[in-house]
Structures are given as structure tokens and as C-alpha cells.
């Protein structure tokens, strides 16, 4: 019998702890598939963050180094500088990459560090219980914006990928979503290209993934997919933001 679907080699046979409908599980699987397809499992070091995905190291079957909150890009820089042969990726949430770790991310990108950043944007702090994220939308209710995010008080949601794209060391930046089979396929393609960018030694690559958090959005998984289409992707438009890889078809 022909096997058409199986667990990627780069995922351990473990059960994800994520909530039903959470995007982390999907993105984990996509990264593992990409690592398998590129044949780099023995060279990869992953840098997971604090947050819901802190246990990512229990799922990926590659070397994993826990990072302090927001420091992923700096940790990955040290790892890559010490051992340029390894393939380093960070896995970071919106609080991690776009709030506490803004400086580390911007400067790693600007230096053109040969690392790959996977940026999960779900517009909320998940693990701590649903507080406002830097990417929380205007009028979105969270536990720390119980009346909705107010422009006059909390300011605008931050478009981190566009900021990163302005740095000259960032050569590939794309925003995708995991709220439909088509978007999931595009996300995988982007992740693959972001790893390929590092393999080719071209510079910093970042993929922002709009990812559902039904638990903290107080929605059903189906509603959360719809919300990404109807609301979230209006603030964070999907698509290629920057590609200076000279490799338009990779991935």
C-alpha cells in the first residue's frame, strides 16, 4: 500500500499540548516537513521561546536551545556565529519578537544574520492568559484591554514584518496564514524558502504566520479561521513583503 501521509521524521512521536484549533501544531508540522525535505535534520538547531510554544523542544526531533523571552535572535546569532555550518531557526510569538525582543530582532535582521525566524502572530499573549500583544488589533478585547484596544491609549498594532523588511540585512520577508488548506500550503512554501535563504547564506529571513488562537479569541476554531480572513489580514496583509534572494521560485 502506498503511504500518502505520515509523521515527518523531524517531529517526535509526541502529542501536542496545544488547544484545539491552535495554529502552533500546524506550523510545527510544516517546519518539520521542510526540514525533512531539505535533508537538514542533522544540522538544525531550533530556538523556541517562552510562551505557549515553550515545549516546542518536546516536539521537534532536532537539537533545541530554549531562549529567554525575546532573545531568540541574539541566541541564534551566537549559535550561528560559533558554528556557521549549523542551520538555526527561531520560533517566536508576537510578544516575544515584536515587543520584548524588538531590538534583538531588528538588529539581527540588520546585520543580515544567516538565521531563519518563524514569527507566530496571533494578536494575543496566549500562555499568560490572553493579554494584549503588540499586534492586538484596534478594538480587540483582551484581558488587559477589556474595553477593546484604544488607539489613544495603547497605540496601533505593530507591523513588525514591514519594519524588518526595511533593514537591509533582511533578504526575505513574507506574511502568511494557516487558516485554510491553500494558506497552509503557501505557509509551507514560505518556510521552505526562509530555510533555503539561510542554506544559501544570503541573509536574514522571516516568515510571519497569522495563527488562530480560538481559546483567547473566545471563538470556535472555524470562527477563528474566518476572523483571520475578515479582520486580521486586513491589518496584516498577506503576501510577499520583501525578496532579495534572487531566487523567486524557491520553496
Amino acid at each position: 500500500m502506498k503511504k500518502v501521509y505520515t509523521r515527518p521524521k523531524s517531529l517526535k512521536p509526541a502529542v501536542f499540548h496545544y488547544c484545539p484549533g491552535c495554529g502552533h501544531s500546524i506550523v510545527h508540522r510544516l517546519i518539520a516537513e521542510v526540514i525533512d525535505e531539505l535533508g537538514i535534520q542533522e544540522k538544525v538547531v531550533g530556538v523556541p521561546p517562552p510562551g505557549c510554544s515553550v515545549f516546542a523542544y518536546h516536539y521537534f526531533d532536532v537539537d533545541m536551545l530554549e531562549s529567554a523571552h525575546g532573545r531568540g535572535a541574539a541566541v541564534a546569532t551566537g549559535m550561528k556565529r560559533a558554528n556557521p555550518d549549523c542551520i538555526v531557526f527561531t520560533y517566536q510569538g508576537d510578544g516575544d519578537l515584536a515587543a520584548i525582543g524588538t531590538a534583538e530582532t531588528v538588529h539581527a535582521a540588520n546585520r543580515g544574520e544567516r538565521i531563519t525566524a518563524i514569527f507566530i502572530n496571533n494578536a494575543v499573549y496566549g500562555m499568560t492568559g490572553g493579554q494584549m500583544a503588540p499586534t492586538t488589533l484596534l478594538e480587540q478585547k483582551t484581558t488587559t484591554t477589556p474595553y477593546g484596544r484604544d488607539l489613544k491609549v495603547e497605540g496601533y498594532p505593530i507591523r513588525m514584518s514591514e519594519i524588518i523588511a526595511l533593514t537591509r540585512g533582511a533578504v526575505y520577508v513574507e506574511r502568511t496564514a494557516v487558516n485554510s488548506p491553500a494558506n497552509i500550503r503557501k505557509t509551507k512554501k514560505a518556510i521552505k524558502k526562509a530555510f533555503q535563504t539561510q542554506i544559501d547564506g544570503l541573509g536574514f529571513a522571516l516568515v510571519e504566520v497569522l495563527s488562530p488562537c480560538p481559546t483567547n479569541w473566545k471563538m470556535t476554531p472555524r470562527e477563528s479561521w474566518q476572523w483571520i480572513d475578515d479582520v486580521m489580514s486586513k491589518e496584516f496583509p498577506l503576501g510577499l513583503i520583501k525578496d532579495e534572494t534572487g531566487n523567486k521560485n524557491a520553496g
Binding site: F60, D61, M64, S67, A68, T77, A82, C86
Partner: protein, 355 residues
């Protein structure tokens, strides 16, 4: 190799390169900039080496964390306010049993303070400094040759015990020039620690992590770290005794303050006062036994520090009430002269009826 005239900061950098340091990550701050600059000039282009001027001390220490996890010898340096920023990373390094060398060329504080030499980071250095139950080995050199020697020792100790090691100097040690000889040649080929993350080739994948949802699991890590710390206390505690055999008053001082005290002791000795010095070389582990031993000869101690009194607590803890401890301190970056300290010694000597 013949002696060369060098400032302390550069001597540390040269010694680090010769000790096989492969990566250096730092952020500019006075009075330690010569160290980073020396690394930029002499380490950055070496084969297999990397130098990054980081965007902050936070980033620098987290680069250290990443490089240490990759199994190479790595260091960072800063001065007091920058060392405060590094504490987050030092805590993670300690928790993950990742060796590295951290240099603090300390300056006056609190706050932005002054750029002049001070010893007011003693508490921060010897108590771990960041959050959680951990310690770092702290070496306190008092001359440029010692800065070089202790840098080499710091790398060896870090690798031996898988702990961060701090060299606690000060702005004066960093800036002053002295003849120094280097006794090691820089390695041609670097060795990589086997406990490292470099991709799971030919072995199962590894995780370096500190978080656990199980308190009992973390307690086990705490116990394991503290068993190692006990071993370090047993094996690595160092101090130097200076003219203590017949001393009626023993000065306890570390680092540059010990250098000043040494001059003061020579002055008062010439006047017939029987004064000696016990100089802790490892600040953590603190030479408790050496203090106890000294208390068998005299009960009179004078702790001299360039702060408001920090190590003095450790001296009192070591004595457990079995000695009288006086204190003299100059904080804020003020550097007292040997003659000033000699006057203090003489006064206490007379007041305590030791003549």
C-alpha cells in the same frame, strides 16, 4: 615570551585569545572599551572566530548563551550598569550549565554612577546576581599580570565545572598599564565541548532548557547545581596571605583595594605596627576557612573596600562572632591612597590597644 607593557583591558583580551576564546560579544561602556576594541582588532579576523558589537548588553549575553551552547569558548565584558543588564542571561547560562567568561570592569554606582574604579558590585557578583538559586565563580585580580593569568584560569574553571565565571576587576585595573607576560600560545585548532548543540548528527537530538512545569524536577536541578557549588567551594577557594604570621591586625581586601592596602601595610610596618593582609582571590567561593584560620592568630580585622561595606558581611559570617571587625570604605569611584589607608590602620591599631 618577554614582558610587554599593556593596559589591563587589553591584557584580558590577549589572554582570552590565547586561552582559545572563539567568540566575543560586547557593547561599549567605559571603562572597559579597550577590551572590546582589542577583540575587534585581534579576534574578529581569526579563523573560526567571531566578534559582534551587539545592540545591547542583553543581546550580547544572549549571544554568549547561544555560542556557549554550540560548545565553544566565549566571553563578554562590560562595566557595572551593563553587568546589571546581563544578569538575565547569566541566570539562564547557570541554569543550563553553560560555561562562559564574563568580565566586569566595575565602576561607581548606583545608577549611571561614575566611570571611576569602584568595588560596589561585590554583592551582585558573589550572590549570583540574577534571579534564582545559583552562583558564579568570581575571580578578583589585583594587577595586570593577574588579569591575564586569571582570564586563562576563568576559561578552565568554566569548562571544568560548566558554570559562568566572572572576573571582577574595576576601572583602575582595566585602564592602568603594567608589564605582563603571556605563558600560553593561542591554539591553532579549537576544541568543541562534547556537551553542545551542533545538530543531531549520529546521535539523538538534544534539548538545553531550563523551564519545567514540575517543581520537583527543578528542585533536582537546584540540588545538582548546589552539589557542584559545594565541590567548587572545596576545590577552588583561593586567597593570599601577606605578612600575617605575626600580625595583630589583619586587613581583608580584594582586587585593587588589596593593592592599595599592601602599600599601606608597608608604611605602617616601617613604623613597627604588626599588620598583615588576607586577600580573597576567589570572592565566590569566599575563603571562609582562611579567615577562620587567621582568627586563630588575632581577633582584630579591618575590612577595606572601595564601597560602603559588602565583603565585610562575608568576613563577619566567616568569623561567626570570633573576632572584631572594623570597616573602612570609599565608595562612588573615589580611589584612596595608600597613605590614607595607612592612617586608618594606625588609628584602629592604637584604638584597639594593639601597640
Amino acid at each position: 615570551m618577554p614582558e610587554v607593557l599593556m593596559n589591563g583591558n587589553s591584557a584580558i583580551a590577549e589572554a582570552a585569545i590565547r586561552a582559545g576564546c572563539q567568540c566575543y560579544f560586547g557593547y561599549p561602556i567605559t571603562p572597559q572599551n579597550e577590551l572590546s576594541e582589542y577583540m575587534a582588532l585581534n579576534l574578529s579576523r581569526r579563523k573560526g572566530c567571531s566578534f559582534v558589537q551587539a545592540e545591547s548588553e542583553l543581546a550580547a549575553i544572549n549571544m554568549v548563551y547561544g555560542a556557549s551552547a554550540a560548545g565553544v569558548r566565549v566571553m563578554t565584558s562590560s562595566s557595572s550598569p551593563g553587568i546589571s543588564l546581563k544578569q538575565e542571561g547569566i541566570s539562564y547560562l547557570a541554569a543550563n550549565e553553560l560555561p562562559c567568561v564574563i568580565v566586569n570592569m566595575s565602576r561607581g554606582g548606583p545608577g549611571l554612577g561614575s566611570i571611576s574604579a569602584a568595588q560596589s558590585d561585590y554583592f551582585q557578583a558573589t550572590r549570583g546576581g540574577g534571579h534564582g538559586d545559583y552562583r558564579t565563580i568570581v575571580l578578583a585580580p589585583s594587577s595586570v599580570p593577574e588579569l591575564a593569568e586569571f582570564t586563562h584560569r576563568a576559561f578552565d574553571l568554566a569548562d571544568k565545572y560548566l558554570v559562568p565565571v566572572m572576573i571582577l576587576g574595576d576601572g583602575m585595573l582595566g585602564q592602568m598599564m603594567e608589564p605582563v607576560a603571556f605563558h600560553h600560545e593561542a591554539p591553532e585548532v579549537f576544541s568543541v565541548r562534547s556537551r553542545s548543540l551542533r545538530g543531531a548528527k549520529g546521535r539523538p537530538s538534544r534539548i538545553f532548557k531550563t523551564f519545567t512545569s514540575k517543581p520537583a524536577e527543578l528542585e533536582e536541578l537546584n540540588w545538582s547545581l548546589f552539589r557542584r557549588y559545594q565541590l567548587i567551594q572545596k576545590e577552588e577557594t583561593t586567597s593570599e596571605a601577606f605578612l600575617t604570621d605575626d600580625a595583630r591586625l589583619i586587613i581583608v581586601a580584594f582586587g585593587i583595594a588589596a593593592r592599595i592596602a599592601r602599600g599601606a601595610i608597608k608604611t605602617v610596618r616601617a613604623e613597627g605596627l604588626k599588620v598583615g593582609m588576607l586577600r580573597p582571590i576567589t570572592l565566590w567561593p569566599f575563603p571562609t576557612e582562611a579567615v577562620k584560620e587567621a582568627a586563630k592568630k588575632t581577633k582584630q580585622f579591618l575590612v577595606f573596600e572601595m564601597n560602603m561595606g559588602q565583603m565585610v558581611d562575608d568576613v563577619k559570617l566567616a568569623l561567626e562572632g570570633k573576632g572584631k571587625v572594623s570597616f573602612y570604605g570609599r565608595p562612588g569611584g573615589v580611589i584612596p591612597t595608600p597613605s590614607e589607608v595607612a592612617r586608618v590602620i594606625s588609628r584602629i591599631y592604637v584604638q584597639e590597644g594593639l601597640t
